[in-house]
Assembly symmetry: C2
Homo-oligomer: 541 residues x 2
């Protein structure tokens, strides 16, 4: 399928490119601070329903494809995205204001993620197949043949995120994992990068056609927020994936809760990612355990990507020690020498400035450091700034523990361990928590630091920085509310596929009517649990 200017601004209802019947809008180029020429049209409520109905109709056929067939589809999507070439990179840069290198890397992450899920499907053990063969002679009662595996939930609605126009958007982790699980996906495009979304949508449709997927396995909709909510309310929709603001995620959760049938909403919403520094970890004068090194790395993590990461360290807790001043001085110096940069859209930039302003006027909160250079355009550029305060002020102002999305952090200097524990105890759920400490500080303290942080987060780091999320088997990008709406999940890594499935048992089925994963001969060669033991062997008929 060739990519033409004409088709840049369409929605896809299944494989069909469709002009929306709803409101018109323009894409915006944050770095130029201007609207782009292309006009986009949102879909009407009726068009949105058509997409869901197509997804529901495609579901039984799509769910029954072999793992290899779904893997082919995912790999074809990756190739089609690569085949978009520079046009995609340029468009994403234009619409996001992010640098070319970052977008290029993000494309690699996106295609890598699709291929990773294809590998998960080809390896196949993720379905958690469990077999209890019949025991006709068991006393007092015989046992019937039971075979269980994970099966897809049904159509999934995915909301593209603004801060990763590729990796958490149309063909991002939510879409890749839902398609891998066997669920048709209807994506609601993020209006911050509509052209990027249409291009990627076109690539997915091309891949679907190429690999013979049932029409409706994927739709891409430009849509108003009320139509988006209607998608979540539709009875045929069985799960929702969202990455974005807390207000946005909670609004979708409310819509889902008002349905007759509750459905899972996987909203990854907000986090301040506490970063805790105990004295031992910065006690050296130089090297990895020095205040200079840790603080410099922290400054880089705070300002990386103009602070527009879910895992940005927004709250730093220092337990006061002789090295506190060196730590703060280094941080000050690094933040001062950092530069303002273009943020993803004008709304994010406005909210950033508002959030910083609200915090800095709280009595007892001070500006520790701000980038020396002022923003060239304060409506689109975020200027790094770090605030500081005491534990007492922090504990008395709940606003200080709320996320300010952008290149900022609040440093809380605690006089005593008790103060620090109290601060951490009051925190809400987080995606990550980082602790800098010596092993001895962790094992010989009265405080169980690891349990304390574990209760608050989906990932705890011993040293290092929370920005940078590996796409792998062992990652957890999730955490207790309000980091996410469902702590039983990760939205990054191979575990993300488990969000879109449910266990299902076939009882006493003839072998040839079972899915491949459960047949006697184990034709997929996957690991299966047979009467409690993992094995790749076949089972008796």
């Amino acid at each position: 399928m060739s990519i033409t200017q004409q088709s840049l601004n369409v929605s896809f209802i299944g494989n069909k490119p469709t002009s929306g019947d709803g409101n018109l809008f323009h894409a915006f180029a944050p770095a130029r601070h201007e609207n782009l020429a292309d006009e986009f049209a949102n879909v009407s409520p009726e068009q949105a329903n058509q997409a869901i109905e197509k997804a529901a109709a495609a579901f039984p056929a799509y769910a029954k494809l072999t793992p290899a067939q779904r893997a082919d589809f995912l790999e074809a999507i990756a190739t089609e995205i690569e085949d978009l070439g520079d046009e995609l990179i340029e468009r994403a840069v234009l619409e996001s204001g992010l640098p070319t290198g970052r977008i290029s890397g993000e494309r690699g992450r996106t295609t890598g993620q699709l291929r990773l899920f294809a590998n998960v499907l080809r390896e196949g053990s993720w379905v958690d197949a469990r077999i209890n063969p019949a025991l006709p002679d068991r006393t007092p009662l015989p046992r019937v043949d039971l075979r269980r595996m994970l099966i897809p939930l049904g159509p999934v609605v995915v909301f593209g995120a603004s801060n990763f126009p590729l990796a958490f958007s149309v063909a991002g982790g939510d879409t890749a994992s839902a398609l891998a699980a066997g669920c048709p996906v209807v994506v609601k495009a993020h209006p911050s990068h509509p052209g990027t979304s249409s291009l990627v949508g076109q690539a997915i449709v091309a891949a679907a056609l190429e690999t013979g997927m049932p029409d409706g396995v994927f739709s891409l909709l430009h849509a108003d927020i009320d139509v988006a909510q209607q998608l979540v309310a539709h009875p045929a929709v069985k799960a929702v994936g969202f990455t974005g603001s807390r207000a946005g995620g909670l609004a979708l959760l409310r819509v889902a809760q008002e349905r007759t049938e509750p459905i899972p909403v996987y909203a990854e919403m907000s986090a301040v990612n506490p970063f805790v520094v105990l004295p031992g970890a910065i006690s050296q004068d130089t090297g990895p355990n020095s205040a200079v090194t840790v603080a410099a790395g922290l400054a880089a993590s705070i300002t990386l990507g103009v602070g527009q990461f879910c895992t940005n360290p927004g709250l730093v807790f220092l337990l006061d020690s002789p090295k506190t001043s060196v730590f703060l001085e280094t941080l000050t110096e690094k933040i001062r020498s950092s530069a303002p940069a273009t943020m993803l859209n004008a709304g994010i930039c406005r909210n950033y400035q508002k959030g910083v302003q609200q915090n800095r006027i709280i009595p007892g909160v001070h500006v520790l450091a701000e980038a020396d250079v002022d923003a060239e355009d304060s409506q689109t550029q975020g200027r790094p700034i770090v605030l500081s305060t005491s534990a007492a002020i922090f504990l008395s102002s709940s606003a200080l523990s709320e996320e300010v999305f952008g290149p900022t952090s609040l440093i809380v200097v605690c006089e005593t361990e008790a103060e620090l524990v109290e601060c951490l105890t009051t925190l809400e759920g987080q995606l990550t928590a980082t602790i800098y400490a010596t092993p001895t500080e962790l094992t010989q303290s009265e405080t169980d630091w690891v349990s304390l942080l574990q209760a608050k987060a989906g990932r705890v780091l011993f040293g290092g920085y929370p920005t940078g999320v590996e796409v792998s088997e062992a990652i957890t990008h999730g955490g207790p509310f309000p980091a996410t709406s469902d702590s039983r999940s990760t939205s990054v890594g191979t575990g993300a596929i488990l969000r879109f499935v449910r266990p299902f048992t076939y009882q006493s089925f003839p072998n040839e009517l079972l899915p491949l994963a459960l047949q006697n001969a184990n034709p997929l060669g996957i690991w299966r649990n047979v009467d409690g033991k993992l094995t790749q062997s076949s089972v008796g008929s």
Copy 2:
């Protein structure tokens, strides 16, 4: 701990036997149709909060125990329950009206279930450990060390069910799986069997003391419904397990949804368990594929345990064939010769009679057969009855697809395959669906029967009867709403433990600070996913 009459009627707030400060009530003996002498006292709201606070305080220590320590606790509970001896059996028979043989078997199921979860813990692989060792030399970016496993959610509130006074009650599947996962449990006892509940609570407390569990790991509360709802609303509670009516489950779900922090509610609520018979499966004159055999088995399944099973076949769909009349005649004969029997409590018996009455007066619904013998006491005994109707009537009366809990079923005779498909399509979510068919009828029909039923249920049976739920690895006792409030779960079998955990990642932790499941040497010898491959080997440091 000795079991004395004095302590029969207490609640346990952690290990402490406590007299409730709330309303008094008596246990009821349905078979005798009279109140028992013992007086029970519900706890006050303050006492309920104390139990939750004790559970929250016990959580970090309990979560950190080794799998073997938690297994010891579960096994000790099983032994303590057995040590209650005949006193427990007699009390449960008295309070439930169920026969001694059934209660005795249910005790075996309960202790077997506890020991099964102990085995799951000792085997250990259920934590889904995943390791991505550090790759410091990877380009363009090094990889940090990531180690993920499932960790417990926190305190769980469990509601005992009336229909299994042992296996789905105080030490039932919800409690066993939550304790196995590492979650403290607060049980709200079912008022239908308060003495049984106190006895089992006492056994659990004895086991907790014996194995040195942290106080608060288990509490048992006799409580009013408003206090029960308060338990669900408490911020320290992280999940809820419930088996009971749809109204009851939905009420708890609403309370959970109104919390600031949403929590999982695993409510197993209602099902009519459609039972579909295609002509080929009853085309023989004798043997397993005859109308006589299938109908006789169905009658037994309908009346088993006075129909008081979640998996009772409440809706039977026959695709009309020359054998329909034989099928209906056999069913009629078997139901007529069945006997009324005591139901679990007066409320259930009243609702049963009301439900049957509401359906039988619908125009076009006929009584196919009723037990010849009338109930000796209509306030406590359920009399088997089977109704019949046409597809047209079924489709026009939504009430006919609602569960009537007791020994009854509605037979819908469909003239055409299209009618049958339409009936099945309108059904809500179910625990089970059963299909009788020849393999050819399934593979060569235009209708994809298996996909159709799979979309509606957690378990699909090819022949057999849905009553009788194996406690094993491969069972799914769950299903789409409203069979349960969360289709991603099973409440029976080893998979039930997965309801009470979340994924968690340790990043760059020193080996000695990691839990045993994730340490380099793999000291537990469990199966782990290392860079995508399952292995029991150690990993490099």
